[in-house]
């Protein structure tokens, strides 16, 4: 499976997107970056229905940015309430909104701005899209940040702190066998303390720590922070297996995670995607084709709302091929007959 990535200037996005999409989905956040892709597309007739997702239990900046995006995207835009404390509410509202947006349409194309979704909401959305996507393409847009944790030196940078809850991701329950040992695979991002807490909570028999391949970060300046976090985590964990993954290539991430999972075939596999959103998409792909993989999410208790990121001027477009949506088994994510 090959996913195709293009790196574009945001100012060229509308010009370079070669087709029209039936549905555009984005997520409002406290980050200015949540506006980058929508602003680049809003004045062009590239997208049909527009869904603006946002977490209702977040800072006031999220609601006001949702308002901004809804207005900016025009009359075809609809707000979708997500709930970061309840994946069920998030899933149900997303599902309803998708059904409404699809109408009687069949074989629709989707453009999803994944930039500022939470990892959990993004995974749920992907699972919902899996049962909808047919032949038309799904393209993911990711607005690159120029800087994270703005203004702080690398060793002090932080994006979120603390963990309020650890849960399996809805739609990715895995297939754990009680008699087996456990293998926790973490795609390490910037937050080593949250990853450490995950290890402490699971006390897995095998730990695999993945870090972003050199040269694969969404921007080179982020690599140093990732390496620092990885080193801090590695210094606190006595035994672990190390692996590399691409931060931007969905197919390569899937392959890396699948290989790592296969190293311990007699273990229950739990994967915690904590790196880029594009790598999380790759992790979802691995779970689509291996139902034994359980995905877990550690919800943060505090986000760096004031200085999470500074928007860049570039955007990555990833086109997901049809094979991406295939399941390994015949089990397909069922659609709720009531919606």
């Amino acid at each position: 499976m090959m996913s195709q990535n293009q790196i574009l200037k945001l100012s060229d996005l509308a010009k370079d997107v070669s087709r029209r999409f039936d549905i555009f989905i984005c997520s409002a956040s406290y980050e200015e970056r949540c506006k980058s892709v929508a602003n680049a597309l809003a004045d062009h007739q590239i997208v049909g229905k527009r869904l603006v997702c946002f977490n209702q239990k977040s800072s006031s900046a999220v609601a006001s940015n949702a308002e901004y995006l809804t207005n900016r995207l025009g009359s075809n835009a609809e707000q979708v309430l997500l709930d970061k404390t309840s994946p069920l509410v998030t899933a149900d509202n997303l599902q309803r909104a998708l059904s409404r947006a699809e109408g009687d349409g069949n074989d629709l194309s989707y453009l999803v701005d994944i930039t500022t979704f939470t990892h959990e909401a993004l995974l749920i959305l992907l699972r919902l899209l899996q049962s909808r996507v047919k032949r038309s393409p799904v393209v993911l847009a990711y607005a690159v940040a120029e800087e994270y944790s703005v203004g702080l030196p690398p060793e002090q940078k932080w994006l979120s702190k603390g963990i309020t809850d650890i849960r399996s991701v809805l739609g990715y329950p895995g297939d754990s066998k009680p008699s087996r040992k456990s293998h926790l695979i973490i795609l390490v991002g910037f937050e080593f303390d949250r990853a450490e807490r995950l290890i402490d909570e699971y006390q897995p028999h095998v730990i695999s720590l993945g870090f972003g391949q050199p040269g694969s970060a969404t921007a080179t300046q982020h690599e140093q922070i990732n390496r620092l976090a990885f080193a801090q985590l590695a210094s606190k964990v006595s035994k672990y297996k190390e692996f590399e993954f691409s931060c931007v290539d969905v197919a390569a991430v899937e392959a890396a995670v699948s290989v790592q999972a296969s190293l311990f075939p007699d273990c229950n596999v739990i994967v915690a995607p904590m790196n880029t959103k594009l790598s999380t998409v790759g992790v979802a792909g691995a779970a689509f084709r291996n139902i034994e993989i359980q995905l877990c999410y550690a919800s943060a208790s505090l986000y760096n709302v004031e200085g999470y990121s500074k928007p860049g001027d570039k955007c990555i477009l990833a086109t997901l091929p049809r094979e991406y949506w295939k399941s390994a088994s015949t089990i397909k994510a069922p659609r709720d007959p009531s919606v």
């Binding site: 899933a91 309020t164 754990s176 009680p178 028999h205 009531s338």
Partner: protein, 607 residues
């Protein structure tokens, strides 16, 4: 050897081989005698307090080595380890069933098949059953074809899977059972997968296994097989805080059944157990339904017992690493400091006949020599010298009743020495390194860890409870330091006991501190001698942060609710008041107790 690099490395007990477990485990069951005896037991303690190691030691492979028996049936009980990891059973999809009748039924089935799989995995991995004649296989085959098969049919299998033939060897038959329950667990998850994105009902047509109708009779029949011990089966459910609320209630319903003569439930928690209600909303109570052990409280109330346990644990680890010295030599005290304290003690002994306060010359030396030394450091020599937290005994006190808080700093000290000593064998840890590491640990506990907890608990942070807890700890730590360097007759204080009833807000702040290990809770006789009152003990892990003396005797101090409210709201003015002698009730009320035996028992004697 699994701890090749560092004798104090912490490893998950589940992964340690039986001979090593037996070699490393220090028998603590005289402190926690309910754990290896029949009866339902809750074993509560923070992470790292040794719960999982106790459970691992109870497993049959370890018990066979411990008892010197060669046959499983000679053991007094059969213990099955059932670890509850975070999202094994707490699958998010189960929330779709909440507030529906099916929730209890399906959760119980899930918990039952999960436990049953662990029972047979234990027979495979931990039971060490030899079967040269094939007799055991034959008996097990009869069990499978007979009572076990009937239970499967009763559980609702339309066509129950056929067990392997009686002629199959024992491992094959046991593996069949493991596969069966693994598969049943998989089926539950497969069903849940259908619920992921569904808000309407989805029929479940699989079998349903419960405790009373399946697991209990299955275990009862298993127990009478000739190779099994005659005693009860223990189900060791480790980290039961990780169950969801419905599963917790179901487990409580199992406890409520009082089947402990045949199946005893040993449930460990990290003090975060969700409820003590059953599925039918009845409350389970101690001691009627279960016995309860709080490891921290037991050890906080008996320093000598705890110290002995730690000494033995460290001795075994050092021996396993061929370090030819004992714990006290490996963690030496700071000789110069100890000598100076000894000299102060000698002078107290010399003047006891004319100025003595204690009943024996040694009492004054024990009580005042170290506080005087600390006080002197804060005086003329301030800034030039610091009290050094070093020596095995001090390190034990600083771990505050939780073995992990000894081993983790010890591991860091060892790693630090290792990094500078190269290939040279390590035979001791310099006192300066000991001091630095425990000071850093105390700082981390009071600052970084506190911040993290505060960040993780948004609601409590927003309601100001974490700020209040920080104030309270600073107020009491600061006050205890002021008392330590005062001229009062009793200077070592680590605890406060209420002389009146604490109000809800004050109590909530203390309880929050208990939940996160900053305080231990206990009770003592009240001032009037008419009943008991609450006592809160500051964690000795914080001693270096507030420059307190963690060793030996420790006193408590009767306080009013109003005084604690002041401490919570205005910690600086509270400490200033303490310096002036306010809030301190007369010395007769500041009662000492002997931490070397049982702090609370002794304190009552002295009252």
């Amino acid at each position: 050897m699994s701890f090749q690099d560092n004798p104090f490395g912490v490893q998950t007990p589940e992964d340690i081989q039986a001979p090593e477990v037996v070699d490393l485990f220090v028998d603590v069951f005289s402190d926690f005698y309910n754990v290896p005896n029949p009866g339902h037991t809750f074993l509560n303690g923070p992470r790292g307090s040794g719960k999982s190691m106790m459970f691992r030691y109870l497993e049959p492979d370890c018990q066979l080595i411990r008892s010197g028996q060669s046959e499983l049936r000679e053991l007094e009980f059969y213990a099955v380890y059932v670890p509850i990891k975070n999202t094994d059973l707490k699958v998010t999809e189960l929330e779709r069933l909440e507030n529906k009748h099916a929730s209890v039924v399906l959760n119980e089935h899930f918990l039952t098949v999960f436990t049953a799989a662990r029972v047979f995995a234990s027979l495979r991995d931990r039971a060490c059953i030899e079967d040269p004649t094939g007799d055991h296989a034959h008996c097990f085959g009869t069990y499978l074809k007979g009572p076990f098969y009937k239970l499967l049919l009763k559980a609702g299998f339309s066509t129950a899977p056929q067990p392997p033939s009686k002629e199959s060897d024992l491992p094959t038959q046991i593996q069949w059972c493991i596969d069966l329950f693994d598969e049943l667990s998989s089926s539950v998850i497969a069903y849940l997968r259908h619920l992921s994105f569904r808000r309407t009902a989805f029929p479940y047509d699989g079998p349903l296994c419960g405790y009373l109708d399946f697991l209990l009779p299955m275990l009862r029949e298993l127990k009478v097989l000739p190779f099994m011990p005659r005693g009860p089966i223990y189900l060791l459910l480790d980290d039961a805080d990780n169950l969801n609320e419905t599963q917790t209630k179901i487990l409580n319903s199992w406890v409520f059944c009082r089947t402990s003569a045949q199946v005893s439930l040993k449930i460990s928690t990290q003090l975060n157990y969700k409820t003590f209600r059953t599925s039918t909303n009845q409350r389970i109570d101690s001691p009627h339904d279960y016995t309860e052990i709080d490891i921290s409280t037991v050890y906080a109330s008996s320093k000598s017992r705890y110290s002995g346990r730690v000494e033995e644990i460290v001795r075994r680890r050092l021996k396993r690493h061929h370090v030819g010295v004992g714990p006290k030599e490996f963690f030496p005290a700071y000789e110069k400091q100890e000598e100076a304290i000894k000299q102060i003690g000698v002078s107290y002994i010399a003047k006891w006949a004319t100025e003595g306060r204690g009943s024996r010359p040694r009492d004054d030396a024990n009580r005042y020599a170290r506080p005087d030394f600390i006080k002197d450091l804060g005086g003329v020599k301030k800034g030039s010298s610091k009290y050094r937290y070093a020596g095995f005994e001090q390190l034990v006190y600083l771990s505050s009743g939780v073995i992990r808080y000894f081993l983790e700093p010890a591991s860091r000290m060892y790693a630090e020495v290792q990094s500078i000593s190269g290939d040279q064998p390590i035979t001791y840890i310099d006192s300066a390194i000991q001091d630095r590491v425990v000071r850093e640990e105390a700082e981390r506990f009071m600052v970084a860890e506190f911040d993290k907890l505060s960040e993780e608990n948004v609601e409590l942070r927003q309601s100001g409870k974490f700020s209040q807890l920080r104030n309270l700890i600073h107020a009491l730590g600061g006050a205890f330091h002021e008392i330590l360097i005062s001229d009062r007759s009793e200077r070592r204080v680590f605890s406060v006991a209420f002389s009146d009833a604490p109000d809800r807000d004050v109590l909530m702040v203390f309880k929050l501190g208990v939940q996160y290990g900053y305080f231990h809770e206990a009770s003592i006789g009240n001032k009037d001698g008419t009943g008991r009152t609450r006592m809160f003990v500051l964690s000795r892990r914080l001693a270096p942060f507030f420059t307190l003396d963690p060793t030996g005797f420790a006193g408590y101090w009767f306080v009013t609710n109003a005084a604690m409210r002041e401490a919570i709201m205005r910690p600086k003015s509270f400490i200033a008041s303490i310096s002036k002698g306010d809030f301190l009730e007369d010395s007769g009320q500041l009662v000492l107790f002997d931490g070397e035996t049982s702090e609370y028992a002794e304190s009552e004697k002295e009252e």
